[in-house]
């Protein structure tokens, strides 16, 4: 295998594109963890639901994309909020392990229900022309997905940051991640803000799910498992609880994954192991991640 500059740049672009998708998912993990200290195991499955919603709206009902995409985001946000209300809210005051086990159960429930309802057979996703074509960027021909995913990711994250740092709801979310009880005493409707957080995270996951199914043009009920775990890894690497960190972590994981496969093709079977090894490494060496603040141990 010859390692020309061209190949490296090409792989780097692919890595950035994949990284953008991980970023969109990672933000959902990081926001929920930042506020509730809960790993939302079902987040990867919300991502799958987003992809399927878009698949049905566009591929089956033949709605145009400019309606389908916002509608998908809305419906997926509703799914996220429903999961929180049904499964996590009743356990807010309980030990965290209970919510964690419940999250594992919800994830398994969605996956298996998906298998039963839509069947295990993967289905082809209709890809809009802007994503299906390819562009000439200087000497490189770059697929449309590779160009648009990072651009859209940055736009969405930018919008989210404005929301988090420039609106009252965003202020409430930030306050919640500091101290739930104190925020409640300040007169904030905590449950509503948490619902809001789940809605935002799920909408971003839907965006990620749609673009994921453009990049690998198919949908299947188990498609959320590995992206979910890698996005979680990204959130940990970036510093869990930190939105910008999650975005950076997503790009890091995407680039590392593509580069290991691109530079060492004979080890491509181990790509998932690499990512998990990176996760374990980060947990041990710097559990608070790149941008995380050191966590205080409460006695």
């Amino acid at each position: 295998m010859n390692l020309s500059l061209e190949v490296i740049v090409q792989q780097l672009l692919n890595g950035i594109s994949l990284g953008g998708l991980y970023s969109l998912l990672a933000i959902g993990y990081t926001m929920v963890y930042g506020i509730l200290r809960l790993i939302n195991f079902a987040h990867g499955d919300v991502f799958m639901i987003g992809a399927y919603t878009a698949f049905f709206l566009v591929g089956v009902f033949h709605l145009p994309w400019w309606i389908s995409a916002p509608l998908t985001a809305l419906l997926t946000a509703l799914v996220g909020v429903t999961i929180d209300r049904a499964a996590y809210r009743p356990l807010r005051e309980e030990p965290r392990i209970s919510a964690l086990i419940t999250a594992v159960g919800v994830s398994f429930f969605i996956e298996n229900l998906g298998l039963v309802v839509v069947g295990g057979r993967p289905r082809g996703m209709p890809v809009p022309p802007a994503f299906a074509g390819s562009y000439a960027l200087g000497p490189f021909r770059v697929p449309g997905v590779t160009v648009w995913v990072p651009v859209l990711t940055l736009l969405l994250v930018g919008a989210l940051l404005v929301l988090v740092y420039r609106t009252r709801a965003g202020m409430a979310m930030r306050a919640l991640s500091r101290d739930i009880e104190a925020t409640r005493l300040m007169g904030v409707d905590v449950d509503r803000v948490i619902s809001y957080t789940f809605a935002l995270g799920s909408a971003l996951a839907a965006a990620g799910g749609i673009m994921w199914s453009f990049q690998f043009p198919q949908v299947n009920p188990l498609m959320g498992i590995y992206p979910g775990w890698k996005a979680f890894t990204a959130a940990v690497v970036g510093g869990i609880g930190n939105v910008v960190g999650a975005m950076i972590g997503g790009f890091v994981i995407g680039i590392v994954e593509i580069m290991t496969v691109g530079l060492m093709p004979h080890l491509s079977g181990y790509r998932d192991a690499f990512v998990f090894a990176l996760l374990v490494f980060f947990l041990l060496v710097r559990p608070t991640g790149i941008l995380g603040e050191p966590m205080k141990e409460k006695v």
Binding site: R37, L38, I39, A87, P90, L91, E94, R96, I97, S98, L100, I101, T102, V104, G105, V106, F108, F109, N112, L113, L115, V116, G120, W229, F232, V236, G269, Y270, D272, A273, F276, A277, L279, V280, L283, L284, P287, E297, V299
Partner: protein, 409 residues
């Protein structure tokens, strides 16, 4: 009114059981188990039910050991599937005849030391030199299986040590992710180290060594070891760690060593369970040890009550039976005019929903944290018996009530 009831029959507690009675009861229970196994091992017994019983025992081994980490020590681990995979593959590779290994590993040959020998064959050669006649060869098989199972357990325990030393420094969620990550790494390795595991193809036609004597024996042994550990000072320390790690540390408990001990013991039995499973199913592939396996065990220990060995044991058996019973859900049904086509996969939907509902509404599980004891059982039967006799007395009293003069006063 209260004095009236007290004056007739003072409430008597059950007389305490002597230690010897309890020992006898334990022996009787074991004898009953041996009898049941002997009955089920008869050639005429349904192989289907025998298979379920075998699986139940294997689930007991895996669930009781998993409960030691998750329930007793309170360390949420998600990686027992990895340890079961280690045990399963090692047992298979040690038991498989050398000639068969050459056939199975046609893509890439098996790595050297494992390709050169098979434990029963080597033992047979060695033992027949020592023991004249067929005695040595006859002994080689069961002895070889025992050696392989123990080796599988030890290998899994070493794996547990390697995983536990780094990850047990983490707590709560982070420990869960780290152990999950290690479990997945073991799964990826099993899929890719083709010269050890034959990759995703797996290994078929493993001779069926496991039977109810093995699985039942392993289950009893596991419960015995784990319960002795739980009831020792180590066990009390583990429970203290579960309740409050910082306080336990302050009380002078070396938290890390205790957690590690529980983790390694748990990994050992997970490895044994994996080995038994491989020898029962006679086929093994990495897909047998996905996260699904961990999920099954998680349901079992939560349903039984996190922290209760009794709970883990009882629900492991229930789960093995329920898994088969729920196949009915997947079969096509006709409810009057309504025809429901069979939906494969419905069982897992039911089980995952069960787990969520359990956590939401019945988090203590069937047994909470309580354990079965002869004293407890004795008090319970005493109370039930008293209730029954009183009830009978009341009923007969009412029948004869007209003839009897009113009491009291």
């Amino acid at each position: 009114m209260t004095t009236k009831a007290a004056s007739i029959e003072p409430v008597r507690e059950a007389p305490p059981l002597s230690p010897w009675t309890k020992r006898l009861l334990t022996l009787a229970a074991l004898a009953l188990l041996v009898g049941a196994i002997a009955y089920m091992e008869q050639p005429g017994f349904s192989p289907y039910y025998r298979r379920i019983a075998n699986l139940a025992f294997i689930y007991v081994v895996a669930a009781v050991s998993y409960n030691l980490v998750n329930g007793v020590a309170g360390q949420f681990s998600l990686g027992p599937n990895g340890f079961m995979a280690i045990g399963g593959f090692l047992t298979t590779l040690l038991m498989l005849p050398v000639a068969r290994k050459a056939q199975v590993f046609f893509l890439q040959p098996l790595v050297w030391p494992l390709s050169a020998f098979s434990v029963p064959e080597s033992l047979s050669a060695g033992l027949s030199r020592l023991l004249p006649g067929g005695a040595g060869a006859a002994l080689a098989m069961p002895l070889g299986f025992l050696v392989s199972l123990v080796a599988a357990g030890v290998a899994a325990a070493v794996g547990g040590l390697l995983v536990g030393v780094p990850s047990l420094r983490l707590r709560g969620d982070y420990l869960a992710i780290a152990t999950f990550g290690f479990g997945e790494i073991i799964f990826v390795l099993a899929n890719n180290l083709i010269s050890v595991t034959n990759g995703p193809l797996g290994i078929r036609d493993i001779p069926e060594y496991a039977n109810l004597w093995w699985t039942g024996g392993a289950a009893v042994f596991t419960v015995w070891v784990v319960q002795n550990l739980v009831n020792s000072t180590y066990g009390r320390a583990l429970k203290a760690i579960r309740e409050d790690e910082v306080a336990a540390e302050a009380m002078g408990i070396h938290v890390f060593t205790h957690k590690l001990l529980a983790f390694v013991v748990s990994a050992f039995f997970a490895g044994v369970a994996g080995g038994l499973l491989a020898a029962l199913l006679t086929t093994i592939s990495p897909s047998l040890f996905t996260f699904m396996m961990t999920f099954n065990l998680l349901i079992i220990v939560v349903l039984g009550g996190l922290g209760s060995t009794t709970g883990a044991t009882v629900t492991a058996v229930l789960y093995a039976v329920l898994q088969e019973a729920l196949r009915a859900v997947e079969a096509p049904m006709r409810l009057g005019p309504l025809f429901i086509p069979g939906v494969p996969g419905m069982r897992m939907v039911a089980f995952s929903l069960l787990l969520v509902l359990l956590m939401l509404f019945y988090r203590r599980g069937l047994f909470g944290r309580s354990e079965f004891t002869w004293d407890g059982a004795w008090h319970l039967t005493w109370r039930v018996a008293r209730g029954v006799t009183r009830g009978l007395a009341r009923v007969s009293g009412r029948a004869a009530g007209a003839a009897r003069p009113p009491r009291g006063q």
